[in-house]
């Protein structure tokens, strides 16, 4: 029987681990005492609360709601975000915009946990200022897009709870929209909607902007048409999503600059 000191033969281990319940009721009279480990459990339904211990944890995340949408045009981008900030079923403010200006040609729209969004924005602003001092010019939209992706991935194992959409003009002057997930995976797309109301808006944009499931000829949309579609989308999302409403801040980015419009929504 030459066992190594550190190991046990499997048969021996399982024999030792057999439960004591097979021995029947305790030997001494103990009517008032219940020995939990030998008492049969078949008459109780345990919902995982007593048998398996569980923790109540502090969650570092909160969801402040909201929806954002960006649509790229030929030489412009329309980016919009609602202005409601909420927590649970309560509204904290009706006038908090979700759009953050990055450069004169680029805007970040982000919904999710407001503190994470603000911190992310300030991280990016600091890096962008350093770039402007070093390089003597503003960061291009594609460079900001890559930097945002890297910044998000730095926090791969404790992510920023931020659903980002970056919108701007690329170096050729064409509209660019980049869509992100929470840990930095990104892609350039014709449009992007994210946040609590994204499911209401995305199929609509598929149909109207990219002409999917349509047999008629695709037509380039003008700025006014795009803004009108964006307003319709937010009215719809505001109707059906409780976290979206109060107002929409719409930014239109063109070669001449960024114009802003506040479009009111239902306050319920």
């Amino acid at each position: 029987m030459a066992f190594n000191m550190g190991q046990r033969a499997p048969a021996q281990f399982s024999f030792e681990a057999q439960p004591m319940q097979a021995q029947g009721p305790p030997m001494f009279s103990s009517e008032g005492v219940t020995n939990l480990s030998t008492e049969p459990k078949s008459d109780q339904i345990d919902h995982g609360v007593t048998e398996n211990p569980y923790e109540r944890r502090f969650s570092p995340y909160d969801f402040n709601g909201g929806t954002t949408l960006a649509v790229a045009g030929k030489d412009f981008v329309v980016v919009a975000g609602d202005t409601r900030m909420s927590t649970g079923y309560e509204i904290l403010s009706r006038k908090v915009p979700k759009l953050h200006k990055m450069t004169s040609k680029c805007v970040l729209a982000a919904a999710g946990c407001k503190t994470d969004v603000d911190t992310l924005k300030s991280m990016l602003s600091i890096r962008m200022k350093m770039y402007e001092h070093d390089m003597g010019k503003e960061m291009s939209t594609t460079a900001v897009a890559q930097m945002l992706s890297n910044t998000l991935y730095y926090r791969r194992f404790f992510p920023y709870y931020s659903f980002n959409v970056l919108a701007g003009l690329d170096s050729e002057g064409k509209g660019a929209v980049f869509s992100y997930d929470a840990i930095g995976s990104y892609e350039r797309v014709p449009f992007s909607a994210s946040g609590s109301g994204q499911s209401y808006i995305i199929p609509l944009m598929d149909n109207i902007v990219t002409y999917k499931t349509r047999l008629d000829e695709k037509v380039e949309l003008s700025i006014e048409e795009t803004v009108s579609i964006v307003k319709d989308a937010f009215v719809t999302a505001g109707e059906r999503d409780i976290y979206t409403g109060d107002g929409v801040l719409i930014n239109i980015i063109t070669a001449t600059g960024i114009t802003s419009e506040l479009f009111p929504l239902k306050k319920d």
């Binding site: 499911s199 209401y200 199929p203 609509l204 149909n207 999917k212 719809t236």
Partner: protein, 204 residues
């Protein structure tokens, strides 16, 4: 995964001017595996009344057969057709009977009443009804369906416009849902008659 999302599905019913339309996809799946693309979810109850049922497929079939049986019995006893509002109330009652062991379905009722006025109603799995004048949706991609219908719906559409609108709403919504799609059927009910068409959509 929720039981109501086990088989997948999507249904819309919409009203127009003196007409209603009901559209459903035809996918049957076992979670992510698609098993059939010709599974019927819209059932004709009588010439002016259709019922669409989504949810667990076995309950879809059972419920539609049960309702057909009850309608036939009513017709034999009363010697008249069942009105859509009465049918909806019957369905509510049947679902609530099983309050603590429900049919895992979310049915939708669409029809024309005796004055050829459109009637719509939808229910949750234990029979809580909602009757609207514009549209009702049910299935695994309800946010998508609500978004599309809310934007695209206009009151008093003609049967052809209604068909076009409801088809676009269903196809665009199903294309963004993995559990719905794989074919679609649209039925338009008018006082003159019923037209059923199959839609050509993405088969993925």
């Amino acid at each position: 995964m929720s039981i109501l999302q086990y088989n997948g599905g999507a249904i819309i019913a919409m009203t127009g001017k003196d007409c209603v339309a009901i559209a459903s996809d035809t996918r049957l799946g076992l979670q992510q595996q698609t098993v059939a693309c010709d599974f019927q979810k819209g059932f004709k109850m009588n010439d002016k009344l259709y019922m669409g049922v989504t949810g667990l497929a076995t309950d879809v079939m059972t419920l539609s057969q049960l309702l057909k049986f009850r309608m036939n019995l009513y017709k034999l006893r009363e010697d008249r057709e069942m009105k859509p509002a009465v049918f909806s109330a019957l369905l509510t009652s049947i679902l609530y009977e099983k309050r603590f062991g429900p049919y895992f379905t979310e049915p939708v009722v669409a029809g024309l009443d005796e004055n050829n006025q459109p009637f719509l109603s939808a229910m949750d799995l234990i029979g809580a009804p909602v009757s609207t004048s514009d549209f009702v949706v049910a299935g695994t991609c309800t946010p998508n369906l609500y978004g599309m219908c809310e934007t695209m719906y206009r009151p008093d559409m003609s049967p052809d416009e209604l068909f076009e609108t409801i088809s676009q709403c269903l196809l665009a919504s199903c294309d963004r849902d993995a559990l719905s799609g794989w074919g679609a059927v649209v039925t338009v009910i008018t006082p003159e008659g019923v037209t059923t068409r199959k839609l050509k959509g993405r088969m993925d």
